[in-house]
Symmetry: C2
Subunit: 421 residues, 2 copies
C-alpha cells in the first residue's frame, strides 16, 4: 500500500496508458471500430445514470454560482447523449490512417525502406467542463490506435467519471484494452501541471478550451504540445469588393456563431469603398445585434460606433462585438493582420484577383479565404469529419485536425545483412 | 539610442528575421538557389579570412584547455571549407518542397480548398561549436524559404561571425533579403534562454548537439521544439540469427563511427544462441577495440567482460564501449528496448520472419531494422540529401529530417460569396 501512495494518480494512470500502447498499436481497424460502436451503444443504454451524474455536477455548479452559459455547456440530456453517441458512430465511418504506407523505396544497396503511419502513442487531453469532449476525444484518439489520458474541467467530474466508466465497461470483453482510456479525477490544478511535464510517458498534450487554459499549457509544458483554438480573425473588404457579398460574408463571420474561434473580431475596409460599403455592412451588423467599435474614420461614417483601442484589436471577444478599421491599402491590411492575427483564419473580399492572390500568399495563417466566410474553418466543413481541434501552430498539423493529425510515422528498413561502409 | 539599448540582441534579430519572412516566402526556387550558389562561391573566395577568424577561436580554445576532439570539430581548413561549400551546392540540387500542392478538392458548396507546403517561418537553431553547422543550417532553412536565427556555441563565435558576414555579403545584390540570416553573438547562456521563450517571433527551435544541450531546450522552451539526436540504440540477435551476419551488423553498428547518434550502445542476444554467437561477436568487437560490459550470463561466456549496471543501459556512450545482455525471449528484448531506448534506431537480426514482423511492429522508434545496421538512419543514406537532424520525437517529423520537415502547410479557400448556414 505504501508504494501505491507514493505514485501520483497522474503518473500511475499515464503509466497504465503507456503500458497499453503496444496492444492498441496491434489492433485492426475492425477491432477499433467494434469498440467504438460498443461504446456508442453503452452510452445510450446507460444514459439515465449519466444524466444523474451530470445532475450532481449541475447542482454543484448552481450552488457555486456558475453562470448559465457554462451550465448549458455542462448539461447533458437524452438528446445530447444521443448526439454524442452519433458522433462516435461517425468516427467509426472515417477511414483509419494507421498503417497507411506513405513512402516505399529500395536503396541501391538493396535496403527496402518503408514509412508508415503509426499512432502517436499516449495523448494527454486537457479541456474544460464539457462532457461531450470526453467522448469525442476518446473516440478520435482510440480510433487512431492511441491511448489517452483525459483531464477535463473539475466542474464536470461526476459526469466524466460516469461516462468513462461506461465507455470502459463497454469494451471489457473486446480486444481493445480498457487501460487505453484513462481519466484523471484529481481536480487540483497541480494534476494539470504534472501532466505537462510527463516526458517519456505522454507523447503529446492537446489543450482544448479558452485562451487562458491554452496559454497555461503552452507556457508550462515540456511535453510536445499542439496549440489549438485562439482565433482573432479578420475580414478585409478591398476597394473592389461587391457590397452585398462583403456584407453577407462579414455578418456571417461575425454573428452566425460569435462564440467560436473562426468567427471574425475585426473588419478591415479599404478607404476607397468605406463611404459606400460601411453603412450597408453596419446596418446588417446592427440587425444582427452586433455592437461596433471603430477607428476615427469609421466613426465619421458610423455615428453609433464606440472608439476602438489597440487592446480591442488584440482581443478575442467571442461575442457580439466588432472592431472596424479603415485602411489605406492592402499592405496596411496585411500589416494589421500580421500584428494582431492569431494565424487562424483570415479573409479578403475582393473582385481583384491580383490582390486576392497576394493576400492568399502573404497572410501567415492556417486558413486564408478569398470571398468566403472564415466560419468554414472546421473539420466537418472541409469534409474531414470530426476534429480534435483547430491547430494554430505551424508544427505537425495546421488548421482543422482530422485523424491523420493524431498519428506519427515510423520507418521500417528490411535488409539482408547490409552494413554501412 | 536609448530605445535600441532596451531591446536585447536576441529579440532585435528575431524581429528582423520575422520581418523578412514575407519576402522569403515570395521567392522562387530559382532565386533561392541563386542565393545559395552565391554563398558557396563566397565561402571559397573568402576562405582565408574565415580560416583566420577560426584560428582566433582555436587559439582561445587552446588557452582555455579545450580537449583535442572538440578542437578538431571546431577547426576549419581549406579542404573543410570546400566540403562545406559543396554541401550548399548539394542543397541547391534538392527539390524545393515549398508550394507543393498536397490536397485540392471542391466542396459541395463550391468552395475550392487547397493545402500547400509553406515555409515554417522563423527557425531558431541552437547548436555547439561546429562552424559547419552554421552553413548547413543556413542552407537548409533558406532553401525552404524560412528565415533563421542561429545561436552557435560561443567557442566558435569568431568563425561564425565571419561566416555569416560572408554569407550575407554574398546575397547583398540578390532577391533574398540578408535579414533572413541572423547570428546571435551574445555568448551568455541567457541568450539561449531568451530564444526558447520567443513565442510569436520564432515558429520553432531546433537544438543540435549533445544530450545536455537538447535537454535544456526541451525542458525550457515554450516555443515548439523539434527534439533531435539522442540515441541509445540496440541490436537484438535473435535465436535464429546467422552468426556472421549478426557479427557484421553488430560491429558496424557499434564501431564504424561510435560518436554518432545511430550507433549501438547495447547488444541483446537470445539465450539459445548466446553460447554459439557471443564468442564470435566478442572476438570481432575486441578486434575493433570495443570494451565490453556484460550481464552475468554474458560474463560466464566472456571472461574479459566487465559487469554492466542499469545506469550503463541508460547511457549513450558515443564511445568504444558496448553493453551486452542475454535475454530469454523476443518479449524480454522488446521490454528492454521500451525501457532504455530513446526511440531512435533499433535492429533485430533474425532468420525468423514472424519475429522480425513483431519487432518491426512493436518497437516504438523512428527507424526499425531487420537484418541491417542502425548506422543507416541518415538523410544521405535514405536518399534525402542533407538533413537538419534526426528527430526522435513523434510530432511533426520523425527520423532523418529532409527539407519537407522544415515546412508547414497552409489552406487557401476560394469562393464566390459562400457563407455558413
Amino acid at each position: 500500500m505504501s508504494e501505491v501512495n507514493t505514485i501520483s494518480e497522474v503518473r500511475a494512470k499515464a503509466t497504465l496508458a503507456k503500458g497499453a500502447a503496444t496492444l492498441m498499436n496491434r489492433l485492426t481497424t475492425e477491432q477499433k471500430n467494434e469498440a467504438l460502436l460498443a461504446m456508442a451503444d453503452a452510452l445510450l443504454a446507460e444514459r439515465d445514470s449519466i444524466i444523474e451524474a451530470n445532475g450532481r455536477d449541475l447542482q454543484r455548479g448552481r450552488e457555486n454560482g456558475t453562470n448559465e452559459s457554462l451550465l448549458d455547456r455542462l448539461a447533458l440530456n437524452s438528446a445530447r447523449i444521443e448526439a454524442i453517441a452519433e458522433g462516435l458512430r461517425q468516427i467509426v465511418e472515417l477511414p483509419d490512417p494507421v498503417g497507411n504506407l506513405l513512402e516505399s523505396f529500395e536503396r541501391p544497396n538493396g535496403l527496402l525502406v518503408e514509412m508508415k503511419r503509426v499512432p502517436l502513442g499516449v495523448i494527454g487531453m486537457i479541456y474544460e467542463a464539457r462532457p461531450n469532449v470526453t467522448v469525442d476525444a476518446a473516440g478520435l484518439c482510440l480510433k487512431t490506435g492511441n491511448t489517452v489520458v483525459l483531464r477535463g474541467g473539475s466542474a464536470a467530474l461526476e459526469s466524466n467519471r460516469r461516462i468513462v466508466e461506461v465507455l470502459r465497461g463497454a469494451i471489457a470483453d473486446l480486444a481493445m484494452p480498457a487501460e487505453a482510456l484513462q481519466l484523471i479525477e484529481d481536480s487540483n490544478r497541480a494534476s494539470v501541471d504534472e501532466m505537462l511535464k510527463l516526458n517519456g510517458l505522454l507523447d503529446v498534450v492537446i489543450p482544448r478550451g479558452g485562451a487562458s487554459l491554452i496559454q497555461n499549457v503552452v507556457q508550462n509544458a515540456t511535453v510536445p504540445v499542439i496549440e489549438t483554438g485562439a482565433g482573432i480573425c479578420h475580414t478585409f473588404v478591398d476597394e473592389s469588393a461587391d457590397v452585398e457579398m462583403a456584407a453577407n460574408i462579414a455578418v456571417n463571420a461575425k454573428a452566425q456563431r460569435p462564440s467560436v474561434c473562426n468567427s471574425m473580431e475585426t473588419l478591415l475596409i479599404h478607404r476607397a469603398c468605406a463611404a459606400s460599403h460601411l453603412p450597408v455592412i453596419a446596418d446588417r451588423m446592427r440587425a444582427a445585434k452586433v455592437a461596433i467599435r471603430g477607428c476615427d474614420a469609421t466613426r465619421e461614417l458610423l455615428a453609433d460606433a464606440a472608439p476602438v483601442t489597440e487592446q480591442d484589436y488584440a482581443t478575442e471577444y467571442n461575442d457580439y462585438i466588432l472592431n472596424i478599421r479603415v485602411v489605406d491599402s492592402l499592405d496596411e491590411a496585411l500589416a494589421h493582420i500580421a500584428k494582431f492575427g492569431t494565424m487562424h483564419s483570415e479573409c479578403i473580399v475582393t473582385e481583384n484577383n491580383s490582390n486576392a492572390q497576394q493576400f492568399l500568399q502573404d497572410v501567415d495563417a492556417a486558413a486564408v479565404y478569398h470571398n468566403a466566410s472564415t466560419r468554414f474553418t472546421d473539420g466537418f466543413e472541409f469534409g474531414y469529419g470530426a476534429e480534435i481541434g483547430i491547430s494554430t501552430q505551424k508544427l505537425h498539423a495546421r488548421g482543422p485536425m482530422g485523424l491523420p493529425a493524431l498519428t506519427s510515422t515510423k520507418y521500417t528498413i528490411k535488409g539482408n545483412g547490409q552494413i554501412r561502409g
